[in-house]
């Protein structure tokens, strides 16, 4: 039962496969099945939260670290399925397949956070990625110029390139140590006598996860994929894979390279580039999804800043930050998916007067955006504060100052969306009606964003203790 969540997901994927076999696949059935299994997965992750175990000849570790991430993934999946229940941008006759690949991708992520062996990591990552590559072009073609195809192609091509880097890095690690088990690799390298190749290998592997996290310079796919993918798909891409990326980044950063100061400097530079690039580009965006894409690049920079400390505190804070980031992003995508009438993209002026058209969603959007901007008391502020503290403790004064300046740049574009929602008049735009369950999901997110921000002590303690088991 230690892998109950994975089993539930696999069962869900199989059930959806059966649904998709029927000649006239019913979108309603597919939705119900996906919902049931999605919620069951979340329940299963909670049920299996305390389980421990090592499976498949030690290639698959079920420990507190992995279970924590699985619970995050399960929670986000449940919310994503609830607020994306209408799947406006996806044609009804491919919905069973859509849900099938969605669950497979989540399964890949769950496997990924538990994998502690190079091949297992690679396979889980690919399972997750390839299912996701397929989701992007499944969007209805509404523009006539097939932006979703372009987005899908970009996503695949950049993804394959990143995978290539990672595979190359893994092969080097194997060549240097003669084993594919992460634990043995670390033990072997810890004995000292490190060649420069080690740092190259680790960096190449990290590049693969930088791609998932959208860190500069592996970010090129982000704006186009966010824009081209349907709102729900973009909401997925923007949230769940980040957990996998952070979980594995932390695992690989524990590999001794003998060049940690070089690695730290490099990561600091990448973090700053991500922040400046993301925030400055986001300033001029009109499409909210595209804007959130750029903001995601900037936030990836912040996560990297947390990892920079290369210690328990920093890793714990990075986990806290990414959890908060995903919550806030989910809140924003919840609103985007439901403000969009037929699955089209949402421009900033489309949320004009949202306070009147749908007050609950307007509130959720405001909380999400103020949170992303790092205004207290939301989780975005606490995360930013903790990350700056851990980076300053490691004496990166200049980096911290530049990062702080970035938050001042970022506020402008977040604020312009809030401004549209709260101060502009709706004009011709009709009210937005949403299912009560979606409103409830929004309220849950608001509460989670506020409470996690106001009372972070226990969470961070827990995350730091959990990370301790890796070191």
């Amino acid at each position: 039962m230690v892998i109950l969540p994975e089993l539930v997901l696999a069962a869900g994927a199989l059930a959806l496969f059966l649904v998709s076999l029927s000649k006239t696949p019913s979108a309603q059935t597919a939705k119900s099945v996906a919902m049931v299994f999605g919620l069951a997965t979340f329940a299963a992750t909670l049920f299996a939260f305390q389980s421990q175990g090592s499976l498949f000849y030690g290639a698959y570790a079920v420990d507190q670290y992995s279970q924590l991430f699985k619970a995050f993934i399960g929670f986000s999946l449940a919310l994503l399925l609830i607020f994306g229940q209408n799947l406006k941008g996806i044609s009804p006759n491919v919905r069973p397949e859509y849900y099938l690949f969605l669950l497979l991708s989540v399964l890949g992520l769950m496997l990924l956070v538990s994998s502690v062996e190079l091949i297992a990591i690679f396979i889980s990552l690919e399972l997750s990625s390839f299912a996701l590559y397929l989701l992007v072009p499944m969007r209805d073609d509404r523009t006539g110029i097939r932006v979703q195809m372009e987005a899908g192609m970009k996503y695949v091509l950049f993804g394959v390139m990143a995978t290539g880097f990672m595979l190359y890095g893994m092969s080097l690690l194997f060549g240097l140590t003669g084993t594919t088990y992460l634990k043995d690799i670390i033990a072997f390298l810890a004995k000292g006598d490190l060649q420069p190749t080690v740092v190259v290998a680790v960096l190449l592997v990290l590049a693969g996860f930088f791609y998932k996290l959208a860190v500069f310079p592996m970010h090129f796919w982000v704006p186009d994929v966010y824009q081209g993918a349907s709102n729900e798909t973009a909401g997925f891409i923007a949230t769940l894979p980040k957990f996998g990326a952070v979980a594995l980044l932390i695992r690989f950063l524990t590999v001794p390279t003998g060049q940690s100061s070089f690695l730290i400097e490099l990561m600091a530079v990448l973090a700053l580039c991500s922040m400046f690039y993301g925030n400055l580009s986001a300033l001029v965006q009109k499409d909210i999804k595209r804007m959130l894409g750029f903001s995601g690049i900037a936030h990836a920079g912040f996560v990297l800043l947390g990892l920079l400390a290369l210690d328990r505190e920093g890793y714990g804070v990075a986990i806290y930050y990414i959890a908060g980031y995903v919550l806030m992003n989910l809140a924003c995508f919840l609103v985007i998916s439901n403000v969009s009438r037929e699955g089209e993209n949402v421009r900033i002026e489309d949320v004009n007067g949202l306070y009147k058209r749908q007050p609950v969603l307007a509130f959720v959007l405001a909380v999400g955006l103020f949170g992303l901007a790092g205004i207290p008391p939301f989780v975005g502020f606490m995360g930013k504060f903790m990350i700056l503290t851990s980076a300053l403790r490691a004496d990166h004064v200049v980096v911290v100052c530049l990062a702080a300046i970035n938050t001042a740049i970022a506020i402008y574009y977040y604020l312009s969306v809030v401004k549209a929602a709260y101060t502009a008049e709706p004009g011709e735009r009709p009210p937005v009606t949403v299912h009560p369950s979606i409103q409830l999901a929004g309220v849950v997110l608001v509460l989670a964003i506020t409470l996690l921000g106001a009372l972070p002590a226990r969470f961070i303690d827990f995350a730091s203790t959990v990370v301790q088991t890796l070191l």
């Binding site: 207290p376 300053l392 002590a457």
Partner: protein, 505 residues
Amino acid sequence: MDLLLIKEGFPLLSFLIFLPLAGALVLLFYHGEAFARLWALLITSLTAVCSLPLLFDFDPTSSKYQFAELYTWIPRLKINYIVGMDGISILLVLLTTLIMPFCVLASWKYIQQRVTPFMFCLLVMETSMIGVFVALDFVLFYIFWEFMLIPMYLLIAVWGGPRKAYASIKFFLYTLAGSVLLLVAIIALYLKSGSFFIPEMMWQPYSLTFQVLVFLAFFLAFAIKVPMFPFHTWLPAAHVEAPTAGSVILASVLLKMGTYGMLRFCLPITPDATMLLAQPILWLSIAGILYGGFTALAQQDMKKLIAYSSVGHMGFVTLGIFVLNSRGIEGALLQMINHGVTTGALFLCVGMIYERTHSRELALATGVGKYMPWFVTFLAFFSLSSFGFPGTNSFIGEFLVLAGTFEYNTFLALAAIPGAVLAAAYMLRMLQKVVWGGTANPDQSYLTDIGVREIAVLTPFLLFVFWIGLGPQPFLDLMHTSVSTLIDQLHHWQQHQQVAAVPWH
């Protein structure tokens, strides 16, 4: 922690902080407009009444932080929920709690659209304003300090005038940009002193370079909030576009946070840097006084006029703080309260005119004295108070500040004098126009004089104008011990530095 006088029993300060927040949460569920008005009035009045025990139980002979409460919050980073109040903050807290019911009353008719969210913002605003003045943990302080931007932004952006979008964004960006480095400075101080407890950060032997950097980060944040010349450009825009209640909050409370921050943080945490950099800041204050005065003289918009006069008045406050003697600082503190009372009242007056003429243009409000005798009576007293007429509150404040400045440097004090004259010039110019006007007055016969509600709003302000003006001693007594302790510590620090003659590293 021996600096705290922990309050056993009822947690009064926390109650004051969270009562408005709780009241605001109720408004999320009940939407009636009439209910929202009454409820907001009830909650703010209750907060005001409950804040009075602070005054009675306050021990003015102690410089400790009183009514203190301490709960652990984030033990890993030694962040605690600590609130407390001393002679420096007590008047500001009371000013905040007492002025809020009047903000609600002033919005009674002025706000006709989206009443419930407006009252929600006002109540949330009150929570964060009280929080800023009583927080003794730097993270707690910063949370209140930043959070305040959201409701204030909405107050301007939603219920503001024609250029509200520009004014509100400018306000938000300016103040946020100012305070990002404050956060870095707070973290740096924590790493040096090992705690976020503000009094523990004070009077520590930080190196001069460190102090100067921290001071500059503090100064940027607080100078923008004050606003000091040349960081003041957001203020006229925000004041002009904000609704009356927003202007009152902005003028009476928000601006004080900047000067409060300078007094509470700059002086005791970075004493060497303060002494090193006091001179340029003093001259910036003089520049602000003169600049504010001259600019106010040229304004056609009454709100803009008062906004620029605020720049001048706050120049007096910063002047008083950075002359670093007890007269100056007590005068500055008193002037903070005076400015809150007088300028708040002036904004209320302008709001009342605006409700009738729907314009803030001075030219359209000329000669209303004939039709609104009660109104101009109030306006006259507040204007007199604004330029420090003897017998009114500002006279005492400005007198103390100038006395302190003479003690510090005669030349500097002489440079500030024209500011006081300018204040008389622009206020009398406004008063003359509003009361009598000229030969070409527009027809004002349709105007009705202010009613009972409006008189009830203005009278308490007038009471304080004369109370502080004629008998300031009780107010000065409240702050005296804390201020003199601060000054003693500063002198002690100075001597210690000279005796030790440690080379700054």
